[in-house]
Amino acid sequence: MSVLEILQVSKWFGGFEALSAIDMCVDEEAIHAVIGPNGAGKTTLFNLLSGVYPATQGKIRFNGEDITRSKAHQISRMGMARTFQNICLFPGMTVLENVAVGRHAYSDTSLFKVFLRPPFAKSRGEQALLERAAEILDRVGLSAKRDQLASNLPYGDQRRLEIARALATEPRLLLLDEPAAGMNPNETEGVLALIETIVADGITILLIEHDMKLVMGIAHRITVLNFGRKIAEGTPDDIRNNPKVVEAYLGAE
């Protein structure tokens, strides 16, 4: 079953066509990568999927439901989570608090309940929420730093934290926007291992990456974009040898 179906999706910004008639399907529990030179429209695609802005044309279906016109928070609650190319942590919050935000949808959201709670009783719901957040931190290996301010973390840990926060929403589909950007080979290994454990838990991954070694090593399926169009799609072997892809990255002979 396809977790995600992207049908003839286009996005225009004023007079500029950022994405043109993209068709794509992401299978359940796959690791699907989207690659392409800078400016190809990869992050724009992610923004469309996660509801940051609407597509100009086309349809997007998630778990069979049409989410083309859905808002970001609705899409998140339906089970799609994402990370950002430029890390979007909450700098003034601690590591644990950042992850706790990811649990927002799982708390009883009523304003009245917050006000009418009997005095001094720390809400059991809140306790449970923080415990669950701590568990997720543990899984990505950041427990030791839980009380540090997110802005004080080294770069590699910040990316890890962002993934943890996205995982806290218990997604079916996780969009990772350049999770290994700016990392040395050691850190990249760590990200790879983390992605593998995530998939082992049954989560589907859609991944933007420039690190070809990572992509070729881990992806089941790769879609290649250039200038807003899809130019190739297939297994890593298909893509490796595709002349159009080589041309897009290296330029024509």
């Binding site: 996660s50 989570a81 919050m93 304003l111 917050v114």
Partner: protein, 281 residues
């Protein structure tokens, strides 16, 4: 018992703390409202009309004016969502002017002559009762997941939205709560000053609220309380230089923004780093 002078200072401190929070709450979701004076005015006029014209008991009039101000805040809050930072400041300033002119020209509320004949119904128990209620609510809010959502919206609303936070809803709620606090402050003010006119609630008043909150610490829950208290009390001691009071405020604002823009208190000032276990927010 306390003498009348001290009582009057305490009452103004209480009211000003409420007003400071009316700016703080929308600001907690990154909404800078330069027009909270308008909501104070709405609360003042509505409560005055209720007690004077309809002989409604004060407690009820207080509650009603808070709710009316809050409701109007919610209505204003929606278009406010489409407007960011800079524009929002200007829009709220403009909205406050519209409200000011409304009360100045509306005969029912006294027009240019103002509304007089208000009974002195505000006293220490009312002021601090209302304040205590508001503070308890705010404290609870801050420590809840909604408080965390507010902070998330403030620090990165896009990320918050993709994590399932309905940014629209919370921003409107924050705006409405801020308006409500201002309305309550206005009602208490009206029944202590005994006379109100539209000039009491204009640009200068709105700015005063901003200063109280910013001085105390705009990112800290107790900031507005500290700021409003200090800035209400100090002029009493500076009676000597009362003449130059405004210049003092102006200079203070310039220097404060240059050297300590976050204000007196900061969010993590009293953070205790526990070795293991709970995080104290």
């Amino acid at each position: 018992m306390i003498d009348a002078y001290t009582e009057s200072i305490l009452i103004f401190v209480g009211i000003n703390i409420l007003l400071a929070y009316s700016f703080y709450i929308p600001m907690a979701t990154n909404q800078i409202s330069g027009g909270q004076g308008a909501f104070m005015g709405i609360g003042a006029y509505v409560s005055a009309a209720l007690t004077v014209n309809f002989h409604v008991p004060f407690a009820l009039a207080l509650a009603a004016s808070g709710l009316v101000a809050g409701a109007i805040g919610a209505v204003v809050g929606f278009p406010a969502l489409r407007i960011r930072g800079l524009y929002l400041v200007i829009m709220t300033l403009g909205f406050a002017e519209v409200v000011r002119v409304f009360f100045m020209t509306n005969e029912y509320f006294g027009g240019a002559y103002g509304f007089s004949g208000i009974d002195e119904l505000t006293n220490l128990p009312y002021v601090y009762g209302v304040l205590a209620l508001v503070l308890v609510l705010l404290f609870r809010l801050e420590r809840s997941h909604i408080g965390r959502a507010f902070q998330a919206i403030k620090e990165n609303d896009l990320a918050g939205e993709t994590l399932g936070i309905n940014v629209t809803r919370y921003k409107v709620i924050a705006f409405a709560l801020g308006a409500m606090a201002a309305g309550l402050g206005g009602a208490l003010y009206a029944h202590y000053a005994l006379f109100i006119d539209s000039n009491n609630f204009g640009f200068h008043r709105s700015i005063e609220m901003v200063i109280f909150a910013v001085f105390g610490g705009i990112n800290a829950l107790w900031g507005p309380l500290v700021g409003a208290t200090i800035l209400t009390v100090i002029p009493e001691f500076l009676r000597v230089i009362q003449e130059w009071r405004m210049v003092f405020y102006g200079l203070m604002m310039i220097l404060l923004m240059a050297f300590r823009p976050q204000g007196l208190l900061t969010k993590h000032m009293f953070r205790r780093e526990k070795p293991q276990g709970e995080t104290e927010p």
